[in-house]
């Protein structure tokens, strides 16, 4: 189950941002981005919400609260990166710091707040993965 989930995360999350690349390749105007992102979020929302509605499931206060927190943090991160890029910091610095730093924060929280312990192969995998993500950001 865990392996299948990791494979799904790798493929689907990896491809999720590819549309912006395709739009850039089609040389469409910048203003297309906003209708694109609206349809992007709406598509994702419908894909999960429709099966939920069909099953008669409802959103609880916990989901609304944590969903709001997640949405706010996601938008906050995007704005911070956009401000950093517009202030002249090159992308090959912004992306590795923001993405690499986020992994560091999650690892710290995982250890200190959630008490996650890593065995040796996992620790090595994390160190190598961290380096790979930073290099991907630089490239």
């Amino acid at each position: 189950m865990w392996f299948l989930l990791m494979l799904v995360i790798l493929l689907t999350n990896g491809m999720s941002a590819f549309g912006l690349k395709m739009i850039a390749a089609w040389k469409l105007s910048e203003t297309v981005k906003y209708p694109y992102l609206t349809a992007w979020y709406a598509g994702g929302l419908a894909a999960i919400a429709l099966p939920m509605l069909l099953k008669g499931m409802r959103l609880g206060k916990t989901e609304i609260f944590w969903g709001g927190v997640a949405g706010a943090l996601s938008i906050g991160g995007q704005i911070a990166m956009a401000v950093a890029l517009s202030s002249g910091i090159p992308g090959h610095m912004v992306f590795p710091i923001a993405i690499g730093g986020s992994i560091f924060v999650v690892a710290l929280a995982g250890r200190l707040i959630f008490g996650e312990r890593m065995n040796l192969p996992t620790t090595l995998g994390l160190a190598l993965g961290f380096t790979a993500v930073v290099l991907l950001g630089v490239s």
Binding site: N13, S16, K21, M57
Partner: protein
């Protein structure tokens, strides 16, 4: 200011991963959480789109790929939320970020982008990392099977 924003971005995204784990610990339903997390930005983007009133014709193919890749993102979010119930949030979060290697490979194949030594190195490291993470997961499952009190 720019560099400070880079670090604020890192903290913000890091706290996002942490909040998702905290939501899991609060027994939030994974699908409900994804719906709620997508509803807010969808609304914001709709308001932004209506406010900007983009002129000119937007090709249908833009909406088609938007919906397809939006579904991909939502499925990834759901898979991540389910994965942190049975695995570590740090590993799940790293996998979400390692997935950046997939569009790099697709771009090389689709748009014939140059395969630089840096990209080769990064993709190679990502593969080795996935191998070690999988090995770590197998080792941990075996340890838990041998001694159930070790499980989280």
């Amino acid at each position: 200011m720019g560099l400070l924003c880079c670090f604020l971005g890192a903290i913000s995204f890091g706290l996002l991963g942490t909040a998702l784990k905290a939501a899991e610990r609060s027994k939030a339903d994974a699908a409900g959480l994804v719906v709620s997390a997508y509803a807010w930005p969808a609304l914001l983007m709709l308001v932004r789109t209506l406010a900007l009133r983009p002129g000119g014709h937007i090709p249908t193919k833009v909406y088609v790929i938007a919906v397809i890749f939006g579904i991909c993102a939502a499925v990834a979010s759901l898979a991540f939320q389910v994965s942190i119930r049975i695995g570590k949030v740090t590993v799940g979060w790293l996998m979400m970020n390692l997935s950046a290697g997939v569009p790099v490979v697709v771009s090389i194949w689709m748009y014939h982008e140059k395969l630089t030594p840096l990209k080769v190195g990064a993709l190679g490291l990502a593969l080795v990392s996935i191998f070690f993470l999988s090995w770590g997961q197998v080792t941990e499952r075996r340890a838990i099977a041998g001694n159930p009190s070790k499980g989280e």
